[in-house]
Symmetry: C2
Subunit: 226 residues, 2 copies
């Protein structure tokens, strides 16, 4: 049987998984709301982000209480500190899903995205959701191999991001400046969302190996393709 102390540590882990699930669901629904110009869905994504913020505050309070009461050292200490970092990533990813939903709300009853870009944006949304599901899996399993896989998946996001920019820069672009601005921001939100999923996975690598994933392999999605 586990003692109260390790139960508390476990429940911090469960909170992280719950945050990742909420945020993964949020980006999926925000994408649908944006492509289908579904105002009610957009509103529900926007409202649901509060739950993520609340979870993060609770996790933070719980982690600090645990540090004060139990004074963990070595691995346990690393778990608590890294959990704080991961919760910040997940909270921010939630904000980005909310930004996508807000863009949908802003342009309602239109979609902010022209039809010829729907497929690319749908792929970005689905990939973002898969990355976050994988990050949740990594939190649960602490599988370093799986964690490092996320960086490769993220290359796919960069590729989609580049495709988006190619459309924007094409001389035949006929959707005007406002839509170009919307698409630029949306692309950035998905890219950053993916970065946070990767970051969560990297932090698990740090937890397990004691080394920053950067020291194993590096990644920062460049926006220089813009």
């Amino acid at each position: 049987m586990r003692d109260a102390y390790h139960e508390e540590l476990d429940s911090i882990g469960e909170d992280l998984v719950e945050m990742a699930r909420l945020v993964g669901s949020a980006i999926g629904r925000a994408t649908t709301a944006m492509l289908d110009a579904d105002l009610r869905l957009a509103e529900s994504v926007i409202a649901a982000d509060e739950k993520v913020d609340t979870l993060q505050h609770e996790l933070e309070a719980r982690a600090i209480a645990l540090l004060a009461r139990q004074q963990p050292v070595a691995t346990d200490l690393r778990i608590v500190v890294t959990s704080l970092r991961m919760s910040a990533d997940l909270e921010r990813a939630g904000d980005l899903a909310q930004h996508v939903a807000k863009q949908a709300r802003l342009r309602f009853p239109q979609s902010p995205v022209p039809h010829d870009l729907h497929t690319t944006l749908l792929e970005m949304g689905q990939l973002a959701q898969r990355l976050m599901a994988k990050a949740a899996e990594v939190i649960i399993t602490k599988d370093v191999e799986l964690a490092l896989e996320l960086e490769q998946d993220d290359d796919e996001m960069d590729l989609l991001h580049r495709t988006l920019f190619q459309h924007l820069m094409d001389d035949r672009w006929k959707h005007g400046i406002e839509t170009a601005v919307d698409v630029t921001l949306l692309g950035r939100y998905y890219e950053r969302f993916a970065d946070h999923a990767v970051s969560v996975a990297k932090r698990v690598v740090y937890l397990v190996t004691g080394e920053h994933a950067d020291e194993i392999q590096t990644a920062e999605a460049p926006v220089e393709g813009a």
Copy 2:
């Protein structure tokens, strides 16, 4: 005389101030590099970000060592945990300054920004630098009044951001899509940079009062003006 323990706590604070200074300088120089199309300056900003990343890693290692060895409670514990968060904000602000410099490098020998927007971007750069200088001041003085001021200063950034979007959306915009995309991204970088400076200040409020600044007054710069 201060004991070794409090000296260590102080030196974490000094690292944060140093990070804020480096990052404030970086956004100032990145702005100049972008407006003047100064490739050497852009390269120096890009290279200098490594120093910020190194400082963050050192601070993190030092904070974790301090937690393990000294097992602080109450206020001291909050200082260490909050410092970790602040260092993450500052590291990210450094990335954003680097992104501005990379945009300058990408468009060299042109400036990514057309002349009629130089004043607005210059103001955004200067404001970003002032906000970070104020954040450094807040870390040093722990002045809650000053910390709350940053949220008002951030309103000024939102206003400049809106001005940028008004230019973009103006029917007379004649700079094409590529420049519109560049300006959209640059606007976003400055806005997020300012958010991180505000966040640092808010965390000092949390340290001093034990309450999240959000509970006193709220802010998240909306991009919905886009």
